[in-house]
Symmetry: C2
């Protein structure tokens, strides 16, 4: 049995998939049991092939493992930890385009160079495939392609939400949206009325994700605290007494 395994959530990510026939696992026990993370949407034979083609890698916190603009040889599946994806301007301004967690694929580049950089936020586990191998596998097993299409469609929706945030929301709304996003990441569809979240990233990362400065992010957290929209405890652990109130703020209904 191969020791290399794709993340458990790899194929269960998108709650509802784009197209018929992709309903697959959205947390299926089967995946858990098999321990390979690639869900029932893929046949066992395909799973075998994927697993054998992957190399497991561990990246310590704070390491850039995809350099912006470098040759795009590999394709990754996150099996542990959180990764930040970013783009930069020549003078150092930086935009984090997303935080991706367990189960996400990355490296679906358009050209033969990565259009973005990737850095580990915490210690991260990855499954690495060569892209040429992935192409071969896709030829053989179209279900992989379907899985990637579903992932891409989900990311596209997230990207559009983020564009609305960056283009039109206030700092207050941005931070609220961000916290709601983390809640979705943690709870998916079944959102509790109150919740706690852990933020592995720094204020600076949050600022670069929300198109703000560290100071504004910090001030906004303080304001949310003052308004009792988040609990008093500072730092990385955030208590949210009323998820719905926060959602209202984040979606501009505040």
């Amino acid at each position: 049995m191969s020791t290399v395994s794709l993340s458990d959530q790899a194929l269960r990510r998108p709650r509802r998939l784009v197209l018929a026939g992709m309903e697959g696992c959205t947390n299926c026990a089967a995946c858990e049991v098999r321990g390979h993370g690639v869900c029932s949407a893929l046949a066992d034979k395909e799973l075998e092939r994927l697993s054998r083609a992957a190399v497991k890698v561990t990246v310590p916190a704070g390491h850039v493992f995809i350099e912006e603009g470098s040759a795009a040889h590999d394709f990754f599946n996150v099996t542990g930890g959180t990764v930040k994806l970013f783009k930069s301007l020549p003078d150092g301004r930086r935009q984090i385009t997303g935080f991706v967690g367990v189960g996400h694929f990355l490296g679906l580049a358009v050209s033969d160079h990565y259009a973005f950089g990737a850095e580990s936020v915490e210690q991260v586990q990855l499954c690495r495939f060569s892209r040429t191998k992935l192409e071969t596998l896709m030829e053989e097993f179209p279900s992989i392609e379907r899985r990637l299409l579903a992932e891409a469609a989900n990311e596209l929706v997230a990207a559009q939400d983020q564009m609305l945030l960056l283009g039109r929301k206030t700092a207050h709304e941005r931070v609220a949206s961000f916290l709601c996003g983390r809640l979705v990441e943690k709870y998916g569809e079944c959102m509790p009325p109150a919740a706690d979240i852990f933020l592995p990233m720094t204020r600076a990362d949050i600022a670069d994700f929300l198109g703000l400065t560290v100071e504004t992010v910090s001030r906004t957290f303080s304001r949310l605290r003052r308004e009792h929209l988040i609990g008093a405890g500072a730092g990385q652990d955030i208590h949210i007494p009323s998820v719905s109130r926060l959602e209202a703020i984040g979606s501009g209904d505040g």
Copy 2:
């Protein structure tokens, strides 16, 4: 879904697609001739099937043909004109996530409701498919799936560029990036040293795309004119005397 935007880095747009065997067109003469907009990456037999499954629709300028949040029954391919995709906040703030032109697919929704709205900028021709039919066709012809994956990957790159623009660029840089994006749309890889473009959208649309106000967009055009980065002629026809200088501004190297 959203396309376009194509700022700075997006200059290395689609041309080369994600995966082997997807080289196909993004405006190929063949498509023009065939008149269905579905590119050469698809075999003739598949094209036949797609064409027969599609209904051709003409939408006059300024019509919303996808209502935000409405049930996602259909899937479209743009065969003429320009479409704007957008998301709104309850109080009317709006973000245009992309302008999409001939050859683009749209409606690759994640759920059974569209996450965005779509409105024609000019008179638009569309091929409409039912999504269920598309699913059937995809089962039969995996190359369609591959084509959609390529499109989605391209849009994702464009979306990341747009996030960098919205989160970190100045008004000056945003407008320059926007113009460069239109140039890429028109000329693709082979960019002339100087060029003219026609902007079918209003200043208000440009503002909603760039996360600015109409006034700022107008002022920025005036500034670019004053700096001789664009020609003196006002309105929708823009002359760009030095494409490379504009690109430098747009990519933050100004």
